[in-house]
Amino acid sequence: MTDSSDPRTFDNLRLELRRGCLVLAVLAALRQEHHGYALRKALAERGLEIEESTLYPLLRRLETQGLLASEWREEGKRNKRFYRLSAAGKKIFAQLLQEWQAINASVQNIL
């Protein structure tokens, strides 16, 4: 049996809790166009630190799922990949936001 006082237990649960929220936060932040590092900075400034190894692959996955659109463009003498919400992404984001608000309200009621 796993020891509940084991810090790994908390880390795993925290990771699970964050996973879904991260997608929502990334989609929300990408209503405005960002490249990977700029997005990471923007999220961190709003209090949501995300590791590089989590955020960059997540962007790729969301793009594969058709929720994000991307293009390579030069900025500051460097080619960067810019992401923004696609039309499908906007629709899904609205649904996810509603769902998240409902869950949040329910959990608040329970708490």
Binding site: G36, A38, E52, S53, R78
Partner: protein, 349 residues
């Protein structure tokens, strides 16, 4: 910065080859932007130690690359419990068959410690080979299931099963007895197989039943035995063999269908009735003669009395056995009727 290039080169090795260039270009742009920010903050380039600490904090190349790769597993979480059960079952059966087969081989050949050691030494490779087959089969199933769910992504689960296909609830009221565990059902089945193998070997190797005495009926010269078994034993042998096969088939079916907890009452009755058949055959033997003389004309006078005593003793044994079997059958039927009556009474309340 050379360290970034070395880092990216290491990441590249772990990326899916089709998207390597694209991912690396993007990572390079992101890392370089980050580096620029850091250097702007410090007002100087990073030292080698600072750059190393920074990349260390980002994570190992393998860790960075892993989330870019699709999640792959040989046997997924849906199949894993079944896989594990099958693997354990296969190991158990392989061990039993190997132990039994080796024992017979050693006994029929020239028994020696080296033969025993050889049998023990072959166990790991045999388990490995069988385990590999199980893994391979399940990996193929997983692949097929995965491919199917991909092509049927809109309804991944709804068509896979229907609640009406679920097996009926097992009646756990087994006359106050605890429901049979899976391990118990498994062991019963394995012993059934062992018994069947033993039965099949008996005609060729009678010493498995009679031990050293098996040589006695066939001995010649001064040790020649005047007795032999009556032909009825041959019928009884085949009858027992068929009965064992039926029971084994039922047990295997129960295990496969997940219905081992409580055998149906009708089956318990049927098995008890069928168990009476070999005894009935024996009791119906002509002249109540289960052991006969090889040469009645020659040995009748000398061994006639002994033969009568043997057959009489066997008759008593068979009658006692038959009585026990009949009483057991009556007991089982009585318990089943009583349980049924109790259930009906409880349902009416």
């Amino acid at each position: 910065m050379e360290l970034i290039e070395r880092y990216l080169q290491a990441v590249r090795k772990h990326l899916p080859w089709k998207r390597q260039d694209d991912i690396i270009a993007e990572l390079r742009a992101n890392l370089e932007s980050q580096l620029e920010d850091k250097e702007a903050e410090l007002g100087r380039p990073l030292t080698a130690g600072e750059a190393e600490a920074w990349l260390q904090q980002i994570g190992s190349p393998r860790r960075m690359a892993a989330p870019y790769c699709p999640q792959r597993y040989l046997i997924g979480p849906t199949l894993y419990p079944v896989f594990w059960l099958v693997m354990l079952t296969v190991f158990l059966w392989v061990m039993i068959i190997h132990v039994f087969g080796s024992a017979v081989q050693i006994a029929t050949g020239s028994p020696s410690w080296s033969a025993v050691l050889d049998a023990v030494r072959s166990v790991p490779s045999m388990l490995l080979m069988n385990g590999a087959w199980v893994v391979l089969i399940f990996a193929v199933i997983e692949f097929a299931v995965h491919a199917r769910s991909k092509s049927n992504a809109s309804a991944p689960d709804s068509s896979d099963w229907s609640p009406s296909d679920l097996p009926p609830v097992q009646n756990e009221s087994t006359g106050g007895q605890k429901p049979r565990s899976y391990a118990c059902a498994m062991v019963e089945t394995m012993f059934g197989v062992l018994f069947l193998v033993w039965l099949l070997l008996l005609p060729k190797y009678p010493y498995l039943l009679l031990g050293p005495g098996a040589a006695f009926p066939h001995s010649s010269g001064a040790n020649v035995s005047p007795f032999r078994l009556a032909p009825v034993w041959s019928q009884v042998y085949w009858c027992v063999l068929v009965l064992n096969l039926i029971q084994l088939g039922w047990n295997c079916r129960d295990l496969l269908c997940g219905a081992w907890r409580a055998p149906k009452p009708s089956r318990r009755i049927a098995l008890s009735v069928l168990g009476l058949v070999p005894l009935g055959l024996l009791l119906a033997a002509r002249d109540r003669s289960w052991v006969t003389l090889k040469d009645p004309a020659l040995d009748g006078a000398r061994y006639g009395a002994a033969l009568d005593a043997i057959n009489h003793a066997l008759y008593v044994v068979f009658v006692i056995l038959c009585t026990i079997f009949v009483l057991r059958l009556v007991w089982i039927i009585g318990r089943i009727c009583l349980d049924s009556f109790r259930r009906r009474a409880a349902a009416q309340q």
